[in-house]
Each structure stands twice: as C-alpha cells, then as structure tokens.
Amino acid sequence: MTTMLRQMTTRGTPYLFLLPGLVILGALLSVPLYKVVEYSLYDNVIVERNPTFVGLANYTNLMTDPGYWSAGFNTVVFTVGSVLGHMIVGIGLALLVNADIAPRARTFFRSMLILPWIFTAVVVALNWQLLLNPFGLINYMLQWMGLTSEPLDWLGDPDLAMWSLLLISTWRGYPFIMVSFLSGLQTVPRELYEAAEIDGAGFWHKFWHVTLPQLKPVIFGVALLDLIWTFQLFPLVWLSTGGGPGRATEVLSTLTFRLAFVDFQFSQAATVAVSILIISAAFTLLYLRNEARRL
C-alpha cells in the first residue's frame, strides 16, 4: 500500500510540476476554441444579446461567398510563395555563410543575416512601406538604373501588391530557415564532400547528391512548420497592405479580422477562423507524424 503510494507520488511528481502550466494553457486554449466554434453556429453574436442558433448556415454562406474563395486563393499563393521564398533564400544564404572564410567575417555575416527575424512585424512593415513607396528608395534606385521610367506603386498596384508582399514576407522569414539549415549543414561530414570531389562532382552535383539528401529530413520538417506559421500569418500582411489594394492581398487571417472588427460580423468571422483552424490542424498532424518518424 505504502509502496504503491510512494510509486504514485514519485511517478506523479513531474505531472504535478506540469499542472499549473497545463491549467493555464488549457484555459487559454480551450475556452476561446470552444467559444469560436460556438459563435460560428449562431447568428449576430456579441452585437445582439440573444443570438439565434442557425446551425451550419454560416458555413453554407461562406461556401458561396466569392470573397472567401478569393481570400483562400490568396492565402495559398501567399503561403506557398512565402515558403518557397524562405526555402530558396534560406538555403542559399546558409550555403554562403557556411563557406570556408575567415571565422570573424563568418560570424559577422551570420549575425547580420539573422537581423530580419528580430524586428517586430510593425517595424518590418513600416520599413518596407517606406522603401516601396512611389517616392521611396527602391523606386529611386530603379529609376536611377534606368529599369523603369515611372515610379511604381509596389504596394498600391493590384498587380504588384502580392509580389511585394511576398518579397516582404521572404525577407522577414528566411532567417529561421537559414539558421535551421546552417545547423543541418554542419552535421554533413566533410569526407562526403571530399569523396564527391574525387568522384568528379562540381558545386551543383555536391549540393544535389550530398547536401540535399543529408538535409532532406530537416527541409521537410522546417517547410511544414513554416507552412503552418505562414498560413495563419496576420500582422505582417495587415500592416503592410491591409489586404489591399481592394482585396488583392486579402488572406484568410485578414478576412477574419476585417469581418470581426471592421464589419462586426462576428459569427461570420468565427466561421472563417474555424476553417483556418481545420486546415492548420491538418498540417500540424502531418508535421507531427513526420517528426515522430524521424525519432
């Protein structure tokens, strides 16, 4: 009896320490989660005292709303574009700063290249707004180089806004990928590169046949994680373009915000939020399964 009790206490101790964290996390996660799902099943929540239960009407509304579909499409473009951008720039820079140069220079470049990650979204968005402004530095440079005669309204032109947003998002997000790959690169044995060199491999062959296979598990995990983050990314988009011009860069997260706090259609906003939740959860499961397989 006593041994059982003691066993229980020793086994239970770690969980006891976890308890406060679990309680807070549970409360902060489960209550809003429940509320959001509940809101999505009612009409006129928050604004009316006694909202009416409407079942899945909000969802059918959403399915027939072209605004939702266009935001969904934009989200896919933004997410896939950003992740690709992060990957390409991140891997490229990781390869560069992993090169055999003076250690001091290497540390310097590594620290410099991580900088975009430490600014808050507000600073990033403001900076890029200044840079991309029709009278901003980038237009000035382009004109000076003779690449364009008229200043371009990068964030204001519906044809350019998504590209500009992808540029900003890539700049903002590549350091995480770069750092992940950098640590991955350092685990590739040098002898493999030497063997490849003797086998006659040039830079691209070494990258393709040695580096990439070694980084594959890292690439897959990091890409999924990035996908999950970017899919629901709100501040950077909202602060850079606000989903505009018009609805050119409206993504699901900004749509949710607009529905809730601009149009005060909280039910409809909750419905969009639930749809984001479902998709994110699917990706998260995929990610967790990948991680579990790696172990």
């Binding site: 002898e191 030497e194 006659g200 491999a201 046949h209």
Partner: protein
C-alpha cells in the same frame, strides 16, 4: 598504372609547418605504405596527392603530369577514406556508379563495370542496399569498390582498415594484397599498423614530424634501419635500445659484460646505443655458443607459440624471447645468450646508425 614523383613537398598550416620537404619516388605498380606516429603528416601527404589540400611548396607528378594545379577529378586517382565516406542516401550500386555517372559514361557500360567489380568484391547480393544496412566490413568493401570501378591510375588509402576488428582486418588486408596483384595499380597506403605496412608494402616510407626518416623495402626497413627511431618503430615487441659503454672486448650492459665485435670507429670508453631484437636474446640453453650474460628475469609473458622474457640490465628494461614450451622461472637470475651478430649500433648524439 603510373609513377608518382613527390619532390620537396612542403605544407604550411598558417605558421605551422606540417611537412618539411618530402621526396618520394614511386614506381608504376608499386605498393607504397606511409607509416609513422600520429600527427607526423601521413594523411597530409596523401591528401595533397589527392588534391584535397593545397600544396605550399614542391611538386607532385602523377604519370608524366605535374598535378599541382589540377583538381582531384583531373588527377586520375581514387581514394578510400578511413570512415568510408559512402553516400548514405544512395544504394551500394549508385555509390559505386556515381563517378561513372558524373563522367557521362553510357549506362550499359556503367552497369557492366559495377557488376563486374561487385562480383570481385562479393557485393552482388548487396547492390540494392543503402550503406546504413551494411556491416563495417561490407561498407569497407563498397568503399573499395567505388574506387576500383573508376579504374584509376593511382589508389590512395587513408587507414582503410582501422575501423575493423582484428580478424576482419586480417582478411581485408589479404584481400587488398590480392587486389593489388590482380589490378597492378600504383598505390599509396597510409596506416598506423606495422603489420599492414610490412605485409602489404613494396616500399615503406617511415615519417616523423613532417620528414621522411627512412624509406625502402620492408626487408631493408626491418633489417637495416638507419636510425634509432626506425629501429624502435618496426617490430613488436620493439627492438631493445640501450645505452652501453664500449669495452676492449665488447660492451658493458648494466653490470654485465657482453663479448662482441663493435664497429671499427668505436674506442673503448665510448658511449653507444645498442639495438637488439627480442628474437636475438634467448636463454643460453636455446642458442649455445653465443655471448651470454646472467640477468635477473622479472616477468614472463606467455603468447602461446613463444614467451616474452622481461629482464633488467642495469637500469634498462629489456625483452627477450623463448619457445612457448620452455620453462623459465620468474624473479630469478638466468643466463641469456645475445646474438650480437644481429645487433645494431647507433650514435647516441645523432641517433644515426654506426655501420
């Protein structure tokens, strides 16, 4: 098959000089083994021949070409690494085929070559496996196979057997020897293991602190060492090397006198380092008629076919040998015979051989 000429090779790592002018001339088809203590520059030399390290000074020629400025793949070499360096994501087949694929060889020709080499090395049943699913010995064979399929002019090995257990190492050693007899390529082989050096080499190069101490056939290295270092490096247990005083009739070794002929240049009273292999010191009953000295035997090591006899001569610890069946008491004085015809004499100051 081609010759390799290494002329006055120098390697600097920053201010640290790793190689101080190495000269080696390797004949076509010769099996050259580099040995020496850790950090003496064996790998550095090999990697410079491979083109994996830059050359700070001197010249390397493979065949008739000076290869100083050439990249590894242009040198006609193949290398086997200590940790095998197999591509983990590729099958055994593709590991072996990779260099041929890169050189744009037609597929059927690649297939023919890979299968032929796999057959020689008994790798055929493993061709579709990844390196992770192979044993150490099998990986080692794949690494050799990868080198062989290219049919290079020169093979470079950097301690290829050091990760294998003793038994497997013996097998692979014989296999490498057979391969060399069959393929007749020029080989440079780096090892720590003196048995590998003695059994494999046509020429042994003994290195020390970035310089060549001596090079020659295994016979010459073992039986005709130029310096104290070489004498002590080859042989297990190592040669006894003791400080002696020359007397009119022979040597004074600790408290005992041993009658023997000494080199002409040495006068009585001079100090000399005398080297004598354990095989040449045996109980007096084993080899009658030799110079004997009665010395205290303090330890006997039974090795099976033979016993090692540890004894003291003055302040020196020395080792002799006797048959595995000979009974010898520990802790008692015993007359031992010294075969001084096979003793070596070295100058104690320069550590060079006095002939």
């Amino acid at each position: 098959m081609s010759r390799i000429e290494i002329r006055n090779l120098v390697k600097m790592y920053g201010a640290h000089q790793a190689l101080h002018g190495i000269d080696i001339s390797i004949q076509p088809g010769e099996f050259c083994v580099l040995v020496g203590p850790s950090g003496c520059g064996k790998s550095t030399t090999l990697r410079m021949v491979a083109g994996l390290e830059t050359i700070s000074g001197g010249e390397i020629a493979i065949g008739e070409r000076v290869v100083n400025g050439l990249r590894p793949k242009e040198r006609g070499i193949a290398m086997v690494f200590q940790n095998y360096a197999l591509y983990p994501a590729k099958t055994v087949y593709n590991n072996m085929a990779f260099s041929l694929q890169l050189s744009r060889m037609p597929k059927p020709e690649i297939d023919r070559r890979v299968r032929e080499v796999a057959d020689i090395l008994e790798l055929t049943p493993l061709l579709e496996r990844k390196p992770g699913a192979l044993s150490g010995g099998q990986r080692q064979r794949v690494a050799m196979g990868r080198a062989i399929v290219r049919d290079p002019e020169v093979f470079l090995f950097d301690e290829p057997l050091s990760n294998l257990d003793a038994k497997l190492r013996g097998q692979m050693r014989a296999e490498i020897k057979r391969l060399h007899q069959r393929l007749q390529n020029t080989i440079i082989y780096v090892t720590h293991d003196q048995v590998e050096a003695m059994t494999l080499a046509d020429r042994i190069v003994i290195m020390r602190d970035g310089k060549i101490e001596q090079q020659g056939t295994p016979d010459a290295i073992f039986h005709d060492p130029d310096t104290v270092f070489v004498a002590g490096f080859m042989g297990s247990p190592p040669m006894n090397l003791v400080d002696c005083m020359v007397t009119p009739t022979g040597l004074k070794l600790g408290d005992s006198e041993i009658a023997c002929a000494t080199p002409d240049g040495l006068r009585a009273g001079a100090r000399v380092i005398c080297g004598i292999r354990p095989d040449d010191i045996r109980p007096a009953a084993d080899q009658p008629g030799r110079a004997t000295a009665t010395v205290p035997v303090d330890l006997i090591e039974q090795l099976g076919t033979e016993k090692l006899v540890h004894f003291r001569a003055g302040q020196h610890s020395m080792i002799g040998k006797t048959g595995g069946r000979v009974d010898l008491a520990e802790g008692a004085p015993h007359p031992l015979a010294f075969d001084m015809a096979h003793a070596y004499f070295f100058d104690p100051d320069t550590e060079r051989r006095i002939r």
